[in-house]
């Protein structure tokens, strides 16, 4: 039983560790709140599959975009605009 518990614990942490992605600059919830409605920020909902279909909510003012097509739609935004992407 101890082995099983140990395995499941490892499994849990390996699974959730993906949430802590590294190199991308992140924005806190409060920081984003202060930018809501600003022209300098575009919020993009890049959730897909179940991440999108199972959720009831969307951040106010967010626009849906496909994460895989970033090269295409990123050209539509001026370079001085901050793009905030959320995927979960």
């Amino acid at each position: 039983m101890k082995r099983i518990l140990l395995l499941l614990s490892i499994f849990f942490f390996v699974g959730t560790s993906q949430l802590i992605a590294a190199d991308v600059p992140t924005m806190s919830k409060d920081e984003l709140k202060s930018h809501l409605g600003s022209d300098k920020v575009a919020i993009l909902d890049v959730r897909s599959g179940r991440d999108w279909s199972s959720s009831e909510f969307m951040i106010k003012g967010a626009i849906r975009a496909a994460g895989s097509d970033i090269a295409t739609w990123s050209k539509d935004y001026p370079k001085d605009k901050t793009l905030v992407l959320y995927c979960a």
């Binding site: 099983i4 849990f12 699974g15 897909s48 599959g49 991440d51 199972s54």
Partner: protein, 412 residues
């Protein structure tokens, strides 16, 4: 658990009360309007009729399980292939989808600060631990999952029916035109909603089907009485939209509980089904003895947990591919039952010489529906590829099990 009725309820309703079926039912209500109600009754009738046919054959001494029936009809390896390919991929893919849905529901309905992914993994861990308990206790917990999910849908359905937001004439308005979406919804409702009712003791099948109707009929009516059909048809979570309209925040919380309990019930029900299949394979000398003895209780839950965990960790749930794969796995599940149904009809024909042609109706309808779903899908080519890939993988696994079994036999 001693009562065969409770056993049937615990297994049969596992899939029925899952969010997957709630989406199919909600979208169907939107596309078909009130016609979804008689269609659901027809679903229950179709599967009830088919189940009785299979039951007639399985009650005889010659065929004591579906696998034994299939083995005698199409041979050892094809029977093993179909049994393995139809249920294990479905368990892994459905569990991935359901756990992620539960994670979002928990996060958005109950605790905003709790990560959805963390909840999905936590639930996977707990449901895996449940699998290590004695089977008797798993059935008790499963019955609790089913009861809570079913009761929640029933309460919302009855409350919504008693407090309609629209006049009766609007609710019972027939859709102006039945589009391709309506046909697709009708087929999905007809085939996928009832497909897992096959589990459990078939002697009580009609009671399970009746209970399902009792729960879902008020729910469909209540959904139509509170939400616009277009909204129901296009929503990816029609159950949540309807429950919010019916009872506000309390409705969301009840539906949140239903989603989590329904997901647990579907996961546990499918796990029990797969374990039963492993035991049957072993009893039919199509798998080594350890598969039945310890394998299905100790090794199998761990392998499933690792597979589901890997699917979630690699982001499969966030990929559209999961839906196509899940649909393919469901088609394989139906294909398996088409084969079992036809095998049962052929056995009856062989044994009794004369036989009512009506026995062919259910399997023929199932097969036609299966083909229609496959070829009307925009992803039909991919789905065909996945079905073949899963069948090939299943045949390799079935052959391996038979080989190990024969080696063990030679040694003893």
């Amino acid at each position: 658990m001693k009562s065969p009725i409770l056993l049937s309820l615990a297994l049969g309703c596992g899939w029925l009360f899952s969010p997957e079926v709630l989406v199919i039912i909600g979208n169907s209500a939107g596309n078909l309007g009130w016609l979804a109600i008689p269609l659901l009754a027809l679903t229950a009738l179709l599967f009830s009729f088919n189940s009785n046919t299979i039951n007639r054959v399985l009650q005889s001494d010659a065929h004591n399980s579906e696998i034994s029936l299939l083995k005698k009809s199409i041979g050892k390896i094809p029977a093993g292939t179909l049994s393995i390919a139809s249920c294990f991929p479905l368990l892994i893919l459905a569990a991935t989808a359901l756990l992620v849905t539960s994670g979002y529901t928990f996060n958005e309905v109950f605790l905003y600060w709790f990560p959805n992914f963390g909840f999905a993994f936590l639930l996977l861990g707990l449901l895996t631990l449940l699998q290590f308990l004695p089977v008797e206790q798993i059935y008790r917990v499963q019955l609790l999952f089913v009861a809570l999910a079913g009761f929640g849908i029933f309460v919302l359905g009855v409350y919504g029916t008693l407090t309609p937001a629209k006049p009766l004439a609007t609710i019972f308005q027939t859709p102006a035109e039945l589009s391709a979406g309506s046909l697709s919804s009708a087929l999905l409702l007809l085939l996928f909603a009832g497909s897992n009712l096959f589990q459990g003791n078939r002697n009580h099948f009609s009671k399970v089907a009746l209970l399902a109707l009792l729960v879902f009929l008020p729910w469909i009516f209540a959904s139509l009485a509170h939400v616009n059909p277009e909204r129901l048809a296009s929503s990816t979570i029609p159950f949540m939209t309807a429950s919010r309209k019916i009872m506000g925040e309390t409705g969301r919380q009840i539906m949140g509980t239903v989603v989590i309990m329904g997901s647990c019930a579907a996961f546990t029900g499918l796990s029990l089904l797969c374990r039963q299949k492993l035991s049957e394979l072993s009893q039919e000398k199509m798998a080594p003895l350890f598969v039945e003895k310890g394998g299905q209780r100790w090794v199998f839950p761990l392998l499933i947990a690792l597979s589901v965990g890997a699917c979630m960790a690699t982001g499969l749930a966030g990929d559209e591919l999961l839906e196509t794969l899940l649909r393919s796995a469901l088609l394989l599940w139906l294909l398996y039952y088409c084969f079992v149904s036809f095998a049962a009809v052929f056995v009856i024909k062989k044994e009794q010489q004369t036989m009512a042609g009506t026995l062919y109706i259910a399997p023929v309808l199932l097969s036609a529906g299966l083909a229609a779903i496959l070829f009307s899908s925009p992803h039909s080519v991919e789905m065909l590829q996945y079905v073949f890939a899963l069948l090939i993988a299943g045949s390799c696994f079935a052959a391996l099990l038979v080989f190990i079994q024969s080696q063990n036999k030679e040694q003893t």
